[in-house]
Symmetry: C2
Subunit: 150 residues, 2 copies
DNA sequence: CGATTAATTGCAATTGTGTTGCATTGCTTT
DNA sequence: AAAGCAATGCAACACAATTGCAATTAATCG
């Protein structure tokens, strides 16, 4: 088997994984959506709509916007309000239902402006007054990230 | 002493308190700022710039914007990113330095859109990876508030 | 007090994100 | 192939945040 074929097979396999991810969440896997998902999988930090727009210069902003909305609604990704003007998005963990107990802490770097999922740091359950009925929670630290420190 | 005089004295006293608050934080107490501060003191929930704009129809939005920025910088008020499009502002507690240990949890109602300070619920210290240097933290619950429940 | 300087406020205009409506494309089903 | 529906692209809009500059007000000094 030629090298190129191997690569092609690996790519196909990868694409298949992405397709499965979409199917699992009941999202019809169009090529557009596969592309966006691929970008999200590969990115080390959360991305905003405009960042995504820059990645694929050819693609319309509104399409990306609606793609993200669909992904979020189907609980494939979650949105993060990091205090910057733009909402960021990142992949959910396996089996995430976006309930408070599924959610984790985020960190927003004031220097490079990137936002990271601290997936290992869950958000602790707090005793807020019982008259408030919480459905979700957003917890974001701001400061200097590992890459920008020193 | 006439009733009106008593009221006048009380008002003067109140204004004096507000003026003190500004002086303590090294903010020159202009009449504009006193007015905005008064509004902030009286409001039961956090306010956005546009809400403030509606309260004083005569006042320019930019003035209010800069007033809030000044207040925030001098740590008289803190800003809250509640996931709505607009940033909200609320008075700081006495002696607040806006460090993570001074900060408290907020609650944003998805029904009435109001945002409340849960001043009694501090934000717990978490163990985030030590490579991240946190300077501040924003924690907001979303759901249905006490007034909107039922 | 009047004149000079600095700080504050108001107005006009711009940027950027998020959003909707509608036309067009492309896929599915029969 | 035709009809129907979902997805995409284009244009336009809504609104928060922000900047630059002019006008006003407050503070300082002679």
């Amino acid at each position: 088997m030629e090298i190129v074929e191997v690569v092609a097979v690996k790519l196909a396999f990868k694409m298949n994984q992405l397709e499965n991810k979409l199917n699992t969440k009941n999202i019809k896997p169009t090529s557009m959506r596969l592309l966006v998902l691929k970008q999200l999988v590969e990115s080390k930090s959360a991305v905003s709509l405009s960042e995504l727009e820059n990645t694929f210069e050819k693609v319309d902003k509104v399409t990306l916007y609606r793609t993200l909305k669909t992904f979020e609604q189907k609980k494939l990704i979650h949105s993060i309000d990091d205090g910057s003007r733009a909402v960021k998005y990142a992949l959910c963990e396996e089996n995430c239902e976006c309930e408070p107990e599924d959610q984790h802490v985020h960190f927003h770097c004031e220097n490079c402006e990137e936002t990271f999922c601290l997936t290992n740091t869950g958000i602790p359950a707090l005793n807020i007054p019982s008259s408030f009925k919480a459905k979700s929670v957003n917890m974001v630290y701001k400061g200097i990230c590992a890459n920008c420190a020193d």
